[in-house]
Point group: C2
Chain length 340, copies 2
DNA sequence: GACTAAAATGGGAACGGTTCCATTCATGGT
DNA sequence: ACCATGAATGGAACCGTTCCCATTTTAGTC
């Protein structure tokens, strides 16, 4: 004699049980509870309690048009930076009464497109995108259909979308200032190729220009991290090339920092003597050798900021905004020049 | 003259546009497309195309009872292990045509309860839980209402739920075997206190028992990582205590490994001479000093396995199963005993 | 060409809520 | 006593689908 797994109960059953109409029950669980008489309230409360009732969010969304859902599309869910931002986003969503649907594209453009469609089909009320290949066309369509959009560290051609991310120009400037102050003269800027057009150009241009302005020698190198060998070659070449000037490597993100550190250590380079500065702070940066200096991004703030954008743009259809967050320099041994 | 942001179109509009009935359109987007004549198919396709139509998943779920949603409740979204498993889960979900709703409790029991309710209100068709304080009662209710449940590395009193995770006994045995083979004689097992009852006991008992059986001296220490000072004391005490036997530290998870490494390095311990073995493989383990040995968990497999459990249990109401995954030993310098 | 089986299509009732509008009923002012 | 007022409640339409069932079309057979 097994206990019958009692069906999930509906608003109608609660109404019957409480001797009320479904309207009243709906009011109770909506935000009009105070319009009900105290007696009615307790009757409904106990009835719902007894039946284990929970309003069906699907039905709710259908009628009201409020899915209470925010979608987040990320290119690489295993990237600590992504996760850190996600944490901020999730917190902020919860605070606003929204839930988060996360989709991971694993850097696959086709998947990205499919997931975008999926998110749309759940009628998410906002969309946060941190992925490379998003077809502008598709995004534009979403915007037209009224979905607020926030891009993380990515500009979108002509689309009306808010952008949230690092203040790239400032970050590069801070990096150059620091490296110069520590006496490094030859710089190598390492980044991954699928970086978004816009931020990448900003950074690169700023790097080139900044080096010139400071009288530094700057090289930039774009390299997929898949091809360890090529990256390794590039770094070794940089280390042996040219004259005596002190050399430093600047890494565009955490993944690059990881790869570069591996190679530098394997090459027998001594950190500090060879400078190393990474954008993105990571757990382990203080653990490696003399410690790796980083420019930490305020990830939680970025996440919250993104959600704030969404919330704002669904109230008034405000024009898209841009939020550039400043990084923080965390100095460790890897940029403490041993022979300045 | 602004372009009117055309409303999201409905199945009815597509039907009209295609000169068909909504039933046919529904069939087209459902899995009965082949029942339609070729002509009808193309008419619907072009109409939908022109209108930018996407079926409303909310309405779909409401009627059909299929939310196509899987919920995942995690205690700490910033834990790399959690994220790695999540990656596997997400992949598997996508492969099965499901989407993932991730909720993060930040180790807050109250939040956990609320989020559980939330997930339920979206009528998720499966639930993967990796969190400490879940009130058994609430979970039991969900199970009764027919939601398949999978627990990650956590047993649940009397609840009928599948369990997926590391083979804890095996992991401890492998750790002990390895440490013993490397000549370590005094062991310190470090773990976090909010570890789930069951796996924790398994590990602990196995550790104690295993040490005895091998003639090793084993201590276990439970310590919140918040209190760095206390943890530091415990480790230092272990390092100075007792006689000459070679000492090694075994860390229960990645967070513990991180904290312990910090402290060991700060104490001036030399890894290898002092053994260090961590459960959970992390990016940086190969970068620190002589490299940190780990027992890597097959995170992707665990994630996929969890989803597989869900899928199975919604077909036939199979009895709950248990999946214990074997870890892989990755040996590095931190357990290469320099004076065996 | 009439008759039948099968294929293709359409009508309309749910699904579980929200919300507009109508109804009931105590209240108080005149 | 009478009517306007507002609070408390209920009835029913609707949100965008799916799916059962009925109807129309097509092909197949003698």
């Amino acid at each position: 004699m097994t206990a019958t797994p009692h069906q999930r109960s509906t608003i109608l059953e609660v109404a019957r049980e409480a001797g009320a109409s479904k309207t009243s029950v709906s009011r109770y669980f909506g935000d009009e509870r105070e319009r009900l008489s105290p007696g009615m309230q307790t009757r409904i409360a106990t009835a719902a309690q007894r039946l284990g009732y929970r309003p069906n969010q699907m039905a709710r969304s259908l009628k009201g048009g409020h899915s209470r859902l925010v979608g987040m599309l990320v290119a690489d869910i295993r990237n600590p930076f992504t996760v850190a931002v996600m944490h901020g986003v999730e917190q902020a969503c919860q605070a606003h009464g929204y839930s988060l649907m996360v989709c991971n594209t694993d850097n696959d453009a086709a998947r990205e497109s499919a997931l975008l469609a999926l998110l749309a089909s759940y009628r998410v009320e906002g969309l946060i995108i941190n992925a490379a290949g998003s077809p502008d066309q598709q995004l534009q369509t979403l915007v037209d259909q009224g979905t607020p959009l926030v891009l993380l560290d990515r500009e979108l051609g002509r689309t009306e979308a808010s952008v949230v991310g690092l203040d790239n120009a400032l970050a590069i400037d801070m990096a150059l200032d620091h490296l110069q102050a520590q006496g490094y003269r030859r710089l190598l800027y390492l980044s991954e190729p699928p970086e978004q057009a816009s931020p990448r150009h900003v950074r690169l241009a700023r790097f080139q220009h900044g080096c010139e302005a400071r009288g530094l020698t700057g090289h930039a190198h774009d390299q997929s991290l898949e091809d360890t060998e090529a990256l390794s070659q590039a770094i070794r070449h940089f280390l042996t090339e040219g004259d005596s000037g002190q050399k430093a490597v600047l890494c565009a993100n955490g993944n690059v920092t990881l790869a570069a550190t591996r190679i530098l250590l394997a090459s027998g380079a001594r950190l500090g003597e060879t400078g190393l500065l990474g954008i993105d702070e990571l757990d382990w940066c203080e653990l490696v050798a003399p410690g790796i200096s980083t420019l930490a991004q305020p990830t939680d703030a970025i996440g919250r900021s993104a959600v704030a954008c969404l919330m704002r743009s669904q109230d008034n259809d405000a024009t898209p905004t841009r939020h550039r967050h400043a990084p923080t320099l965390i100095m460790r041994g890897s940029t403490r020049n041993t022979r300045p």
